[in-house]
Symmetry: C3
Subunit: 457 residues, 3 copies
């Protein structure tokens, strides 16, 4: 019948190159129902190819197919000069990647198009690994293609869709350098958050090192350098975690105030704010990681030699009757109770940011978790930190060398975020903001058409 | 060639509305290879649109396309009355959502169809957020459509499939209210489990507050109210966790007994049981959450001021020689060993219920984890609880004001579940149940055709 | 228009069998936009079918459709003999599964083809459960089909693609036994890693039981059997975890040395190495599981009765002045600091191996996490273990009955892996290895064509 097209009756697909990638791609295409021919320099001794595929010379293979996948390193493109006449009018898919960025003056795909001007070169599929192809991890994976011929791209796109890939068209062959740089990316979205986290950690570590260890050594002559391993990090990690968590919610608050000030949502935020908002997820996950380390350190505390030694000395040296201070009991228990609750919410936020969990949430649910629950977590963790310091605030011994302790410094950012958030939740402010976000504008944008032109998407 | 249809040669798709959603949708369609035109009230000053798209007046844009996406709030539909003649015979996709349920007498899509009677209105894509569209989180996501014209739905469905969405047809335009209510849902499956968990927590908290804190205050005049923060919750959370875990396996056991009693699997379960079985996953995850909090509380115990104070008093006041009780050592170590094992299995169950992990399991593997491993977890956690109370059972001081302690109350439900499960595992019972589940029936259903009619799917 | 084919105008799809699977499949097909007819022995009393589907006799239903889904147990295939004439030229999809492997001489699909020789039998979709069909958990799920008619397979494949499935063609009907065995699999990839983990655990448990418990009983007459619950497992679990983690990185190192020795990457690894490399993920996850149990045990330590008793005795019996040993403080703090860091990295590795997280990583990112971060984790955990034993190495009391303690034994494997890895990272070795992995060969393979023929893919 008309509706049941038979893939097996089509022309076969051709693959140049019998390396890992070529073999895996061929195997996959065969499993999807295509016929596959390989082009090889040495058809008789080219090593194993998947069962069901044929191996021919490059020219024979090119003649047999309309679509040629090039799974060969750019360094070995020279053979294509002889094959070029046979590739005329065919679609040539360039899957190659380089080992480093910017080592060639032009992208591989552009170089290829110059070598084989008669073929329609399509760059694409280069983000796939032989491993993913072999193990069937393709479903729903995004892949990008680009090329100057819309027909050629459509042909490649159909094969990709059958392989289970989601194809995104990136335009002409000029985009190929960008596509070739994709597989060389190493956590581009994590760079900034990681730098902030490491910078904050280093700064607070140094600050606390001076206050806690060096101060004791200089003023009292005590060597408590062993604290560098546990006691100090256990102050640095929660401090940085709380600061990072508030940095995660600060841009949203700033954005709301900008919208309120401008009276419209149709003007672009400044670049730094856009950039900040895009890496909120990464900032939050780093905050969670630091909180986890804090929790692990905390649980390990009572097993430490120094903690046990201190405890025994306390018991031995106490000669006065030992009375139970209910306020202290309430204080430490509240501190820890809030800590447990805060960490639990932290973990919930982390789980909901897993891609597969997030995908099952409706927009309203995602918003509820990341906004409502997120601000609640920030509030609880801030309260946890306030309770930790509540009775140390007025003791002079707290201010060694006239410096405030670390937790006081770190409380500044979350306090500001929470105060600003409370302002935004005031009924009058909230009403205006909601209207703006639904499209209402305080002044029509017609007055500043030149400003609008300056914005881009 | 015939098989390589060129998307670029098709008529463009039209989008009405240049807000967040309209722009994100257009960008996505452009990336997928479609041409896009925007219809706008002010084509010259409508703000930024994605590169490659054209902006026209509503009527021009409608004329250029066969498919029109309406990304406009229902409040602004009035402009459509003028555009209606140009939309005759076109497919009009209504993506709108409302802020609350039931604020209009008819659904947006029905209202739209009345406004533009000549167009084929399709409701759909309204569960997508601008954020998901921009960030390419569409692959494999479900989306629902409904509408009276099968051809129009098919056209929309093809565009959606190209975007990587999985389209589910919900029938005629009458289903549009249901579709419009989807994005307003807030964890509908979690409501009942969450209510049960909170109700149980409140009940046990009150019960234990009376037994532990108020009893001490009334009878001995001691103020131990600080226990409200840690000691009390650390009893409530494990109790509720165990009850929830057994509530997770109780409906399966009840269903098996119903099937055994009826002698067939072809009759529907009562509604309350169906409903209960559908939210077992949520009940189990809540049980895991409560168990996690219990574990966190437990690890925090030795760091508390009150614990350390109690310990020091113990050391100070003990004047009699202090001997080592092997039975107590065995008891506490077994208690904790089982606890660790139980929590580990709990976490395994939780991980296997992540959507992406569950998707990699075969049905038999999923069944093994959720049934075999689940009942083992229940057994271990129940044993953990029994060991906790084994030496307190016969002490009169346990029964303050003649009430049993909380752990005794909570042991009832899991004990019942485990006993019933053991009965079901008896060879003779198990054999009958397996036969019933394979389709065998004790009495042919032909005798009660009127009963069958009463059941629905 | 031509491009908008209407599914509703097609012939309906037919389903034989109104059980769970048949009903769920039908409901799903209806939701996707197909028309569905059921064939039943008792069309008037066959129980509920999804709304919108028709129920007919088998022969009527078969006549109405081109594609018939058979959702019936193999035991009930006999009715097909009467229906066979009506199935001539139709596509018959066999979804059946068996309860055990190898209970019939021929596969269900082959048996079916013999019963209905005129139909084109396609085996497939048998990995889907009624549960997954009902709950829409199909997106991107792999399903296998096989059959002798390419046209029939293409027809089935199109329906599957519309359901959101990824179809893989496994060849002729001869592959049907393999397909029927899929749903009966129970963690085939976990068998070997689990056996290794349990074997190692049992061996170390016995070894430590003799050294710690039995030695004390025999030599000193002390009964410390209660240690079996916590103290002993807390030695066994970290030991096995470290060994498993190093076993996870050993095959990669061995493979590199084999490639260096052979001077080519084009020859297959021995079977045992291939098999080992394929289950590295499972080995690593088991190592993570054991590390988690170790951490839980560790945190529980200070709450135990025996730990508190020992502590109190220490306090009571110490009459000599008690001084603070800085070296011990540094030692235990370093031990625990490294432990926390190692466990944190362990958890990161575990999270990145979640399917949905792994799918978002580029190949270079995945490689960075699993290789760089993995070896760092191994190094930190090994250092953690070395620090644990650093001051016990030279004490004679360590070598009870002339046996080394468990942590010394377990350090051997990770130490070997780390030394070999350091050798591979030496510039001269690394350069050669990189060239080999880019396709360079020390000797051209032309000299040994007979060897190449012996390899397979």
């Amino acid at each position: 019948s008309q509706q049941h097209k038979n893939l097996h009756l089509w022309k076969p697909l051709c693959i140049f190159g019998t390396g890992d990638l070529g073999r895996s791609l061929g195997q996959r295409l065969l499993q999807t129902g295509y016929r596959v021919v390989y082009g090889s320099r040495r058809p008789d001794s080219c090593g194993p190819v998947p069962q069901g595929a044929q191996v021919m010379s490059h020219t024979d293979a090119a003649s047999a197919a309309n679509l040629v996948f090039l799974c060969v390193h750019r360094d070995h493109y020279d053979f294509l000069q002889n094959v070029a006449p046979y590739l005329k009018g065919k679609v040539l898919v360039d899957l190659s990647n380089n080992l480093k960025k910017n080592i060639y003056p032009e992208s591989n795909a552009e170089f290829l198009q110059r070598l084989v001007p008669g073929a329609a070169v399509v760059k694409g599929l280069n983000t796939l690994s032989a491993w993913a192809l072999q193990n069937g991890q393709l479903q729903g994976k995004q892949t990008f293609i680009c090329g100057d011929s819309a027909e050629a791209k459509q042909a490649v796109s159909e094969v990709c869709t059958r392989l289970g890939l989601l194809v995104l068209d990136r335009g002409g062959v000029g985009a190929s350098r960008e596509l070739e740089d994709f597989p060389l990316q190493l956590f581009p979205m994590w760079r900034l958050p990681l730098s902030i986290a490491l910078g904050l950690s280093a700064a607070f570590f140094l600050y606390l090192l001076i206050r806690d260890v060096i101060y004791g050594y200089v003023e009292d002559g005590k060597d408590i350098s062993f604290r560098i391993m546990i006691a100090l990090p256990n102050k640095v990690f929660p401090i940085v975690s709380l600061v990072m968590l508030s940095l995660c919610y600060l841009p949203g608050v700033i954005a709301a105030f900008i919208q309120l000030y401008r009276g419209t949502k149709y003007r672009r935020f400044p670049d730094w704010l856009d950039c900040w908002m895009l890496c909120r997820k990464q900032i939050g996950l780093l905050a969670l990681g630091f909180a986890l380390i804090h929790v692990l350190y905390l649980f390990i505390l009572p097993i430490r030699y120094s903690a046990r030694h201190k405890f025994i000395s306390q018991v031995k040296n106490k000669t006065t009757p030992f009375y139970f201070d209910k306020t202290t009991a309430w204080g430490t228990d509240s501190l820890m109770g809030l800590g447990v609750l805060g960490f639990f919410l932290y973990v919930l936020l982390g789980i909901s940011s897993l891609p597969s969990v997030g995908a099952t949430l409706s927009w309203r649910e995602f918003n509820f978790i990341q906004s409502k629950l997120g601000h609640l977590t920030l509030f609880i963790c801030t309260a946890h930190c306030y309770i930790y310091g509540w009775n140390k605030l007025l003791r002079p011994s707290t201010y060694k060398w006239y410096t405030p302790p670390g937790y006081m410094l770190c409380l500044m950012v979350p306090s500001v975020v929470l105060v600003l958030k409370v302002i935004l939740l005031l009924p009058c402010v909230n009403r205006t903001l909601t209207r703006i976000r639904q499209g209402w504008e305080r002044a029509p944008p017609r007055g500043h058409p030149e400003q609008l032109k300056a914005t881009n998407f």
